[in-house]
Amino acid sequence: MEMDMSVYLGAFLDEVDEQLQILEEEVLVLEQDGENQETIQKIFRAAHTLKGSSAAMGMTTMKELTHKVENVFDAIRNQQLKVNTQIINLIFDSIDTIKLFKEAILEGTVDSVDVSQLIEKLEACKNSATAGEPTAKTDVKQEEKTSSDEIIFPEVIFDEYQKDMVEKAFEMKMNVIAVYVALNPNAMLKSVRAFLINNNLKEIGEILASFPSTEVIEDEEKFEGSLVYIVVTDSKNHEVLSTINSISDIKSVHLSEIKPENLESFTKGKKVGIVEQKPPQAPPPAPKKDAKLKVQQTVRVDVERLEYLLNLVGELVISQTRLKDVGNRLSERYPNESIIEDFHEVDNQLGQIVSELHEGMMKTRMLPIEQLFNRFPRMVRDLAQTAGKEVNFIIEGKETELDRNLIDEIGDPIIHLLRNALDHGIESPAEREKKGKSPQGTVILKAAHKENHIVITISDDGNGIDTEKLKQSAIKKQQITPAEAERMSEKDILFLIFKSGVSTAAKVTEISGRGVGMDIVRTHIEKLNGLIDIETKQGEGTTFTIKLPLTLAIIRSLLVKLGDKQFAVPLVNVQEIIRLGKHEIKTIQNQEVGIVRDQVLPLVRLHKRFNASEDQINKSKRLLVVIVGLAEKRIGLVIDQTLGNQEIVIKPLGKYMGSPKYIAGATIMGDGKVALILDVASIVLEEGVKDSIPYNQSLATNQHEKVIGVTSFYLGEEEYGIEIDKVKDIITVPSISPIINSPYSIIGMSNFRGKLISVMDLRKRLGLPIQPLTRKSRIIIVEINNELLGLLVDRVTQVLKVDENKMEEAPNYESLVEQEYIQGMYHFDDRLMILLNINRIIEIDTLLQLNQKINSEQEAVR
């Protein structure tokens, strides 16, 4: 028996997790919304399931505990007991104990968990209920007495609800069958068998009712071994029979169909008398719904296996790009060879499959953040209770999906930030009332996707951060000198909070105040290549914003050139790309800095470090600088050239290579060459802001200004921009094959990562004179409603961030382009950029038609 059970241990533990989750959630709901039949039913059921499965696994103590919990909720359900804080806390204690059990099971120390006290308390709690008449049980007992050797089935009596359900089933032309099952009188574990029968029947249909009631069946002592299920099913009678006969120790099964004609016989009899006496006995309607919901088909897979597969897909992506490259070279060499056409076709097809495979694999690693967020309501409640605060905790964007590794990693930082919000942010109810706020504070935890990143915000409407106090604390801890403090901006001071040992808390509490938490938060976020920003307003509240890459294995990156060497900079770290003139570069305390919008930005030249030639940048009049950030720090990397955005697969350099300074890994480019990925974290930390330099620039997204990213490019002399979230990639011009009868300004189609996309000459579309392709010509791949389109432009310059509020209305300027395509303009110091309204330029219907056409042509070729 024990041997067999170990096989189910994993499934059992999963189930325990699942049910505990439900318990926790629902008890919180119960606490907030008060008594509500549905909630109580759910709790009752969860406790019940736990009891059942722990009994089946032979975990007697756990069974006992869950049984007591179930009893308490049974009493609540039957309105013999009122929910109060004491009960809620007791239930939470029980949940925690069950969690302990789970741990103990894993460690093999189940006996060490002591539940006697808790059980006593639960017992006492239950007994405090007005001892209501035990309902169904007595009835069954009476019947039991009559059952000697002959099988006597419990009486089948429908209440109004059940009758109603049966009638509905008739309307839907479903079979309603009464299944009479008798177990061998000397069979062991009758309840478990009944449970199995129940499960098997659930698979083929819906169980409307069981007689005796589930409670009786589950009670090994009371259950006699004969039962009747009312099942609504599509299955044939023999299928029902075989389902049940697959379970051992069944003495007899017989079916009797319930028809409209004989329905009355099931509902007559003691209907009136008994049904009214025991309304709660009726199986609640909800469990059936839930049972249906749970039938989501899933397979649990070892993460390592997924990881391995994903790796293979990465390799496949690389090989495919190379294959394409080889194909192109072949066509150049043998332009008239028709077999090469076939090659391209196969390659295209392969590319399509690979990219879909890739996408699918990525999705398997993605999980809704719900998994993590669900842990917090309970925590917030407990913390609030400990701290004596009233908090309304709101979670938004639970469904946001992100890589499972990230979910594991981001938990701690969020916990710290939530603790801070509760302990330091939200004031006590009395204090709040004094300030004219509602006594109940609000904490909002929100997750959302934004431009290929996950943005998590934690905001409270509490007291805000006292920057003055922070400054004093930092000076006291000798993190900064008073003179430095003088020069620092509000934002700089705010970021002091991330330094170890700095805290504004007057006293250290159980929850927080030691000043280490924020340091941990920062380290974690840096490790994940993320950014963090704080915004606070004295007396009004604080918002922390965490920005993370979607996944750790495949990232979007900006390709840059240092000398003749290519490097990839993770896009999540890239804030902005700017050009600095000579006059904008200064040296402060031996550190080269750039002056950007009156702010000081430390500049870092890595050419020497990477053995790259500096000739190019020494020659040019203006420096091209990528502003990169890590957590709250920003520096400017001096580069020769940007090569565009690309999704890259991160590959480790391996054990032998170790971890060279400033290199995070490597990636393989389309041409098969290896490009190194810059480790922005270490560059920023080592080369970056020396504490003595006044630095007060935060480029992180700020709520007051609506910053949008724009890819800017030139058509002739005019600079244009497209919002970056529409831009999927920027590529050099590949071979473009013409499309017959193509509409508008579509010049042909091209292969983009294995997909055929149409390419539009933006000059043609905007009515500008056509020009031949040059070396600088690029294709910007845009995505509109999931459809891709390439836009041919003269050259792409940079990615910049602009404040949407500073946008000027179009009509002020004489552009060559018609007004309707212009969304707005931006003035920079010395130039003007026209932001294009891409949705006007590309009508989605046309695009759809076009893509369909391409696809059908491709089909036809196949």
Partner: protein, 153 residues
Amino acid sequence: MKEFDKDQLFGQYVVFAIEKQLCALSIKEVVEIIRIQPITEVVNDRDYINGVINLRGSIIPVVQLRMRYKLPIVPFNKKTRIIIIRNEDEGIGLIVDEVLMVTHIEDEQLEPPLEMFNTIEKDCFKGFAKVNDQLVGILNLQKVLYPEEVKEG
């Protein structure tokens, strides 16, 4: 490594040249031999690790054996090869001037290191053998890859 590990030395050897010195690695240690590839330089503390190459989608570090032995660097040519070996479950490439042959070396042909080599650190060899009247040094891979640690030990 102090004594002769007969088992390991037994069998087939890949013979290659660095600065005219013939060296050999047991075929068990060699995964494959490829032509010289574009190498992406990775600046790191050990200058003999030249950089990385892309070997069918895997990033493989490459060791310049000439650099390792502080020999003059010569430009790569048609004969330059990368010998891929396996170390701690990952591939490492060794850049050699030329790969000459795969040959069978019997235990009996092996002799302990001699004192006569100056071009290449002699402690990098496990032993020597005469093949076609030429002296071939059997490389001690661990010492080639990890000079610092071995010296300390």
